[in-house]
Symmetry: C2
């Protein structure tokens, strides 16, 4: 109970420890998160995504500065793409954010991929919950790319910034559908580079061609130029912050905020189910050596993976449940 | 049985139909795949991945041409990053491969993301199985990026080509760990662009700094220049094909091929378990409207997602199984 109280008071050490314990799956961590849950749901969650090297951390840093000017407290969760084998986090240029490390109103944590079962979305959701309970006004979730898992992570956010850079010709073409679905605000970073204007034109015409219902949000495109002209940069990132604030106002007025919160809840159930159902089954098979044994048999074509999975599901799933499912 | 026979004879229509039926989860499709399984396991599977716009399809096209010169039959599976909402595939510049469409020795299919449960890796594995049963000598799996799901997909391959392009400064830095783990051969495409040499240097020094055991494979870096100089391009892509062939020889001699096949089997079990356990549970909750109801309660903070998942897992998982798991 002491921990819960501390976290709700914004205690950094207690919050950090719980996030780490959740990542490490220590047995006491989950019940604590459960107690924290009723203290969550008041923060505005911003997602920021884009290709590696697009400058997401720099923009996150600038957004923090803008939010601090308004005396908003900020939590930042940086989700790193890492090897599924080594499991280490790459901090990269995240050190740039260190200028906020001394600021009590800012709490920054990194998460790395663990295992191949796609638990990263849940780990991100857990860390966001802890930051919400700490009372952070705004939480920024930074992730890389638009793979399925990254979309799962970004779906925790109320408002999503997609960062693009000029110089990757057919990027828009091939990312099209995915990007249009998730982006609420576009930032074209390094906009002093060749091709920035063309990227803007392509993106704008893509947005124009998308079906648009009356009163719906139309994602604005913010150009962010040369980082070596500090004044321009500050002005432009202030505009980015402004656009995100406008999107937040839109979400509230249109009732969309409620819908996004519900979408997030659906995903939380999905994530939690995987942790409660899939992971114990896999852990069980791994610990007994059965997984290895079956993989060997599949390799030798003595048995097929589909029959293996069905056999296992019969052992773990209730027959009533299975029958219900089959009859559907 | 007729279908099985036809597919094993390389019949394109029968194979296409089964792949589509598997994607659509028609009830007869899975048992057929099961019967096909014993006819699989003889193809060499090449994975090719990289950022959007890196030119993967162009290189795949060139690899097909090289393989056809050696009279190898080829299957190509293009996995598209698409919206989890609309579910449509983006063919993009894949039309370039159309020059092989009339060639009976080449079979090309695309797969798109379906749903948010990460079933894409399984769908890819299924389609590869069908192509293996067709007797294709080589199967090329093309996917985008290095997100977790893309790594899952690429893990179906025996040999992985990572395609990079100059001009994304810190890409290497931030992709580092992931890339070193999955790449067997590097291709620097559009190598006539500024920064290609620097990219080569950085990559080489990264490879040098990685721990290297005696006799282990050292990923070669192949530079692929200006597409408008056809002769150079053909020479360079021939070198790429040669490096992949060398890697295949290495895998066979070192016994690594066996290990990779086993790794693939593990993943197949994982994928099949998700289909047999997670999907039916989620489908069941969705059909009854319970998922929506619970999401609403979570949104209002009346209940937390962790308790919900535990409750559900008790209903679907056998208590014996759960207890075994808890006691661990």
């Amino acid at each position: 109970m002491e921990t819960i109280k501390k976290i709700c008071e914004g205690n950094v050490r207690a919050a950090s420890r719980l996030i780490r314990d959740l990542e490490d799956k220590l047995p006491h961590a989950r019940p604590r998160l459960r107690q924290l849950f009723k203290h969550t749901g008041k923060s505005f969650i911003i997602g920021i995504t884009g290709s590696p090297g697009a400058g997401k951390s720099t923009l996150t840093d600038a957004l923090i500065a803008e939010l601090r000017k308004l005396s908003k407290t900020v939590g930042v969760l940086a989700v790193d793409p890492t090897s599924p084998f080594t499991g280490g986090a790459i901090l990269g240029d995240r050190v740039r954010m260190l200028r906020h490390a001394e600021d009590e109103g800012v709490f920054i944590r990194s998460l790395a991929t663990r295992g191949a079962l796609g638990g990263l979305s849940q780990a991100a959701g857990d860390a966001i919950h802890v930051m919400e309970a700490m009372g952070k006004d705004v939480i920024i979730v930074e992730t890389v790319g638009i793979g399925q898992q990254e979309i799962d992570i970004i779906n925790h956010a109320h408002s999503v910034i997609v960062v693009m850079v000029p110089g990757m010709g057919d990027e828009i073409q091939s990312m099209k559908a995915g990007i249009l679905e998730i982006a609420d605000v576009f930032a074209i970073n390094k906009a002093d580079r060749a091709g920035a204007k063309q990227l803007h034109t392509e993106l704008a015409s893509l947005l124009n061609s998308a079906p648009q219902s009356a009163g719906a949000w139309r994602p604005p495109i913010v150009m962010i130029e040369n980082l070596y002209e500090p004044l321009t940069f500050v002005e432009q990132t202030a505009e980015l912050a402004q656009k995100v604030a406008e999107h937040y106002a839109y979400l509230q007025e249109s009732g969309q905020l409620d819908k996004r919160t519900e979408r997030r809840a659906m995903m939380q159930i999905n994530d939690a189910l995987r942790a409660c159902i899939m992971e114990p089954v896999i852990d069980n098979l791994t610990a007994s050596g059965e997984l290895q044994y079956l993989a060997e048999k599949i390799k030798n074509r003595e048995i097929d993976p589909y029959s293996v999975a069905e056999e296992i599901s019969k052992r773990f799933l209730k027959s009533g449940g299975i029958n219900d499912i089959d009859k559907k």
